[in-house]
Each structure stands twice: as structure tokens, then as C-alpha cells.
Symmetry: C2
Subunit: 409 residues, 2 copies
């Protein structure tokens, strides 16, 4: 592994490198390491949060690529373009969210937006709050920026804002609070309106900024979405992505922020990557500009994931009965499940599951303060519906502890 800073001896051996403290603050995500195992042939993966590749609008994207390339004799789609993003795509995002264009910055996926926000707000030792369990990419970006993480427990309604309020009353002062408001990763929870309102009130009162990450909100097939965080406070930064609604391999996302923050994010993005790929921005804009395409495509995605979510829920009921607790999904890509049998450890069982031909993500992979050893994240997005039953059968065979599980009658 990496050797950390060994200052001092100028005659050190050529194989030693003085790396910065930043490298020491992060470690390779356990989840990435586990996902690498989930790549075996024959294995049914309930692990990765990958969108279904058969849902990608391949021909529409190919046509758009040809259109933007051949439509610009000056090679405009291949030239450098502004750091904040191309005007047309910024305008599209602004229109979709009902905000002024100068609040919008196009980013290289919403992960980059998260990193820019972390760098823009978090100095070494600053407190940043987020739900535990939490999105690994957020935990890593905040840690890399030097954050002291304030882990707030979450329940079926997402981050527990009353617990956060209690920590604030006791004197903790986060510079930001990160939340995935719709179909949270990993818990699948959607934060209800009252809780969002309370969080907005705390942001105003304690002067932190709410970072609302919403890559899954468009993937809702049941119920209705609570209002966005911007309804409750101006102290909000919204992260969006085309990864889950078009394709992740394009790496196009965006961040909407109050003007002074937007200006700072563009300033930070200059030395980070100059700009997001011009070609990809042009292609995304071209695809979004096809009359009727996006709504029809979203309808197809919702139908596809609703079918798979239902198949997964049925399989879990059938094979685990009351041995596994979970809330069926109204949207998004995964569910979070709790094993009733407290003697079974999902992290320990992971290797056995792989050997049995099924992959899942153990709760421990998402933990900050908590261990989440009886919990696991199950994705229904990447495996076809007809494989889900067999996958869950293998899962049941792996996780069945000493207490017999009652099959559903």
C-alpha cells in the first residue's frame, strides 16, 4: 500500500513517495472491493446500484452523437467549452428546476458536484453531517476534504432530523448536511415533507447549507414526491444527474446553488478538470431536446424498475417470510433489508453468498458510526426479473441462520 509522508531523509530510496495527508484520509471503498467480486459469470448480482443496461437509449444517443458531430462544421462539439457548462444544457436544467440559469453548473457526473461542494465548504476539521448508513461516495468526498463526519441515524423516513437538532442544540456546528431526499442510497427511504421542512428550518437557524442529492427522484412509480428542499430554505445546493435517467457512462450531472456559491464552484472546477466533456453535454442536450423523448423514456424506466422491484419483494416474502424486514420500494434502484435473526452477520456471510452464486452489499459497507451487521442493500435494477427469484433463493440459503425461517403460506 501507499507509504505516507516520510519526511526527513533526503536520501530516501526511489520507491518511497511523500504523499499528502489527503491520501491517508480515504481508503478504498469496501463496496468497490466487494463489487469487483460480483463480476463472476453465472452469479446473480443484487449488489451493484447499476442502472439496467438494456434500458439505455443506445440508438437515440448514437443518433444524437452523429447529429452534434456532423452538425458543427467548426467541430464545436469537440472543442473546449466554458467551465460552467454549455448554455443550452444549463438552460434546460434551469427550466426543469425553475431556477435562474446562473445558478446551474454542469459537472462530470453529480459525484464531481459533491466533491466540488465538499472542497468549497469543508476545511480540515469542519463538521459535515449525513445519514448513517450513508452514500459511500459522499462519505469519501467529505473525508477527502478533511471533514469531521457527524453521523446522524436514519429510519424509514431518512435522516432523523430530530436527532440532528439535538446534536445542534448540544453545540455541534456542521457547515453542511448531506441528504439523499428521494429513494436514499442505501436505505431507499424518502424523506417526508414535514421532516424536510424541519431540516430547512435548522439550516436557516444554524447557518449550515443542505446538500440535496437527488439522482433517483425521477424514478418514482408510486406515491407522490414531497416538495424539494429548495421549497423550505434558500440555503440549499441541489445535485442532479443524467446517470440514472439516461446513462452513467456519459458522466454528466449538475449542481444548482445560490449565486455566490455557484460562482465559487465554477472557480473550483477550473483547476479540477477545466470543463465537462463538450461532446457529452451536446449529446445529452440533443437527446433531451427530442420532442416527447424524455417523458416516454422515464415512463419505460419506471415500468421496468417497478416490475423488478415487485419481483424482488415477492421473492423476499416467499423465501424469507418474516425473517427479513423491508419496505417495498416506490421508486429508485434498491431496498434496504434487516435480518430478524441477530446472530447472522451480513458482512461475514458475503463470501459464502458469492460462493452460492449471489451478491449483495452488506450494511457494514455503508456505515459511519454504526455497524449495520444485520442489514443489507439489495438492488433490483441490474438483474432481470426472472433471475430475482433464483437470486433470493440463493440468498436465503446463505443467510438462513439457526432460527428456521417460515416460508410464506
Amino acid at each position: 500500500m501507499v507509504k505516507l509522508r516520510d519526511t526527513g531523509n533526503p536520501d530516501r530510496s526511489p520507491s518511497s513517495y511523500r504523499l499528502s495527508g489527503a491520501v491517508g484520509r480515504i481508503e478504498s471503498s469496501m463496496i468497490r472491493d466487494l463489487l469487483a467480486l460480483a463480476d463472476r459469470p453465472g452469479l446473480i448480482s443484487l449488489a451493484g446500484g447499476l442502472p439496467a443496461p438494456e434500458s439505455f437509449p443506445v440508438s437515440v444517443i448514437a443518433e444524437a452523437a452523429v447529429a452534434v458531430l456532423t452538425g458543427n462544421v467548426g467541430g464545436g462539439a469537440l472543442q473546449y467549452s466554458p467551465t460552467q457548462g454549455i448554455a443550452g444544457l444549463r438552460a434546460w436544467v434551469a427550466g426543469r428546476h425553475g431556477v435562474a440559469v446562473h445558478r446551474v453548473t454542469i459537472t462530470s457526473g453529480s459525484q464531481q458536484a459533491l466533491d466540488l461542494v465538499a472542497r468549497g465548504f469543508v476545511g480540515t476539521g469542519d463538521v459535515a453531517a449525513l445519514a448513517d448508513p450513508g452514500y459511500v461516495g459522499a462519505i469519501q468526498a467529505l473525508r477527502l476534504a478533511g471533514a469531521d463526519l457527524l453521523a446522524v441515524p436514519s429510519d424509514g423516513d431518512g435522516l432523523m432530523v430530530d436527532v440532528l437538532e439535538d446534536r445542534l442544540r448540544r453545540g455541534r456546528r456542521p457547515v453542511l448536511v448531506y441528504v439523499v431526499t428521494n429513494f436514499d442510497n442505501p436505505t431507499g427511504a424518502t424523506m417526508p415533507a414535514e421532516r424536510r421542512s424541519a431540516l430547512g428550518g435548522l439550516a436557516e437557524r444554524y447557518g449550515f447549507v443542505v446538500v440535496e442529492d437527488d439522482p433517483y427522484g425521477e424514478l418514482r412509480w408510486a406515491g407522490s414526491a414531497p416538495p424539494a428542499m429548495a421549497t423550505y430554505t434558500e440555503r440549499v445546493i441541489t445535485l442532479g444527474s443524467f446517470s440514472k435517467i439516461l446513462a452513467p457512462g456519459l458522466r454528466v450531472g449538475y449542481v444548482i446553488a445560490p449565486p455566490p456559491v455557484a460562482e465559487a464552484l465554477v472557480l473550483l472546477k477550473q483547476p479540477v478538470d477545466l470543463q465537462t466533456a463538450t461532446l457529452n453535454q451536446r449529446v445529452v442536450l440533443e437527446v433531451l431536446s427530442r420532442p416527447g423523448f424524455l417523458e416516454a423514456h422515464l415512463a419505460r424506466l419506471r415500468a421496468l424498475y417497478a416490475r423488478r422491484a415487485a419481483a424482488l419483494a415477492t421473492a423476499l416474502h416467499d423465501h424469507f417470510g418474516p425473517g427479513l424486514r423491508f419496505t417495498p420500494a416506490d421508486g429508485g434502484l434498491f431496498i434496504w433489508a434487516h435480518l430478524v435473526d441477530r446472530s447472522v452477520d451480513t458482512l461475514e456471510k458475503h463470501t459464502a453468498a458469492i460462493d452460492n452464486g449471489v451478491a449483495y452489499l452488506p450494511g457494514a459497507g455503508f456505515g459511519i458510526d454504526g455497524r449495520h451487521r444485520q442489514e443489507l442493500r439489495l438492488s433490483f435494477s441490474a438483474a432481470p426479473a426472472d433471475q430475482l427469484d433464483e437470486g433470493v433463493r440463493r440468498l436465503r440459503a446463505t443467510l438462513a441462520g439457526p432460527v428456521p425461517l417460515r416460508p410464506r403460506s
Copy 2:
């Protein structure tokens, strides 16, 4: 502008945001602001370091995009892919540079590689050395990481390694030394072999790492290239880019580093943007895999830029005579010129030049410690050869100080 950290009052107004110290360390590049002015119709720009858009292999890239999209029924070109880059492209880079594949990481342009290296090596207050004048993207990335910049003067042979050695002897201890070894930005200088060898020796002796940025090396039409820095030391990180040899709007670059450093860079890239766009990597690999394409394309680029460089040199001789000193280019995209008349300030004259219908970049925009007020960077890449003479005529009309300039006989 951005309000910096105003900690304290929890009842601050909603429009104030507590931004981190990182934001305060950088400022919008003067050059970006000046380039924004160079976008007027009718203006002849010698300012931007943009590749010639008519040189982009548009149809080859369009065909490659269609091939990689339609050739993958699983939508592979649109799915997530590994942080370190797709295997085929890493292997291509490794083959081209004669290094092991595990040293190669694909990045979102070489600017991202620079930012990752800065984050990986530079902690707040660490010393990083580079040539003055220097590449603005490097100055910004290093400052953002918290570097204390050690500005080393440069001459026609690039960074003055003897001056660097003197600073090292006096006790300065950079963690890295950044150099553009071939056709430097902004000076156009190529560092000769002896100086590279001396720099390599200092890296070994003082334990710093040499960051060799080489986006322009393939654009050589005269003379021969000195050996790469890796010839002289193992303590080297090489940054490469497809921006100048294919197209910048693809945002695909790479970094080659010793294995422990490569491992750290991948770790850092995870929270930064997860990965570089899969589609763009596949497209670049597809284009590079066309038999004979790259060498033929490079030959065309070299011929194009050689023609423009010659036209610029002729025009400068014709209009300025001995009033302007510069070294004709053997490659790259620009030259660095010195006005003999010390009463003329290229920064002050910039607005007048724009009004006269020509844009250039004043030396001051590249300064770290130095002011470079009699110097300017002139790019020959973006303006067609037949516009260069008229552009230089306007430049001469703007910059002609009280001392009459002798036209070439």
C-alpha cells in the same frame, strides 16, 4: 464575489455562505477573463491555446461513436466502468510509453491528472516548484491544494535547473517540481537532455517527484525530441492528453506513475468523479485502433501547425523587425515574444489590442513571482494562416511604442 468564512453568528442572513479556505486560495484566471474578450466577431485571436477545430477528425470520431454504441448490445459504452480507466485504453497508453499497465490511470483530461497529483502530494504549506512564467492550470491546481509555490525562472531551454538547484541547496524542499518539457506553455521552450538529466538527478538526491506534463510533444515538426524524464529518474509522474492530438472536447487524458503513486491516484479519483466517461474512453480507443490513422493524423496536424507557425514568424519579422524577440517554434501551439521597447506594457495594451481587432495573452497572465510586462504569448494554432499577417499588422499598430520599429528590409 464570494464571501469568505464568516463564522460566529448563527443568525446570519440567508445570503451569506461559509466557504472553505480552499476557495480563497484561488482566483479566476486573468487569462480566462481575457479569453472571454477574444470572442468578438471580426477579431483575429492569437490568444487562446485552442487546437485548430478544422483539424478535428470529426467523421472518424462520429464513426467510432456509432461503432462503440451499436457494437455493444449490453450498452457497455454507456455503463459505469472502472475508476482507473478501461483496460484497452490503459493498455494502449502503456504500449505507447513502454510502461506496465498498472502504472496508467485514465483521467478526465490531463488537467484532472494534475489536480489529483496536487491533492496526492501537496498538503497546506508544502512547497511545489514550477517555471515562472507557468501554466495557469498548474498554478491554480497547486494553489488549490494549498501549495507554497517556488517560482523558478525559465529561459529558452525551459525551467532553469541550476537556479532550482541553488534553491534546494539553500534549504527549500519541494514535494514536487512541475515541468512542461516539450513546447512549454507559455514559453514554447523545450528542455534539452542535459537539463532533464540534471533535474532527474536532483529529484533522486532531494526526494521530490518530477511531474512531467507533455500535451504538445507529439506536435513536433522540426528537430528531435530529447528523451523523456523517465529516462533520468524513476521519481517521475507523466501527464498525457488526447486534447491536442484528437480533440479537447472529449476530455480524455492520462497519468503514468510509479505503482504506489498510481494506487493513490486511483483512490483519490474515486470520490472526485468515480471515473472518466466510458463512452469517451471507448471512442478514443476505437479511433486509436484504426490501422494507420494516428500517424497519418499527426502528420497532418504537424504540417498544419508548421505552416501557421512559419506564417506567424514571417509576419512578426515583417511587421516588428528587431522590435520583437522570439524563437521560431519547432512544434506546439504558440511562441513567447519579448518586446524590445521596455516602455510598452503588454497587460496595459491588451484592451487597445482588442479594440484594434487582435487578441493576445499578456505575459503577466502567466506570472508567479515575475511580472513579464514586456512579454506576450502568441498562438498560431487557431487562426488560419492567411489571417496571421493581418493579425500581426494590428498587433504592431497597437504595441508600437515611441521608439520607431524598423520594418524588415
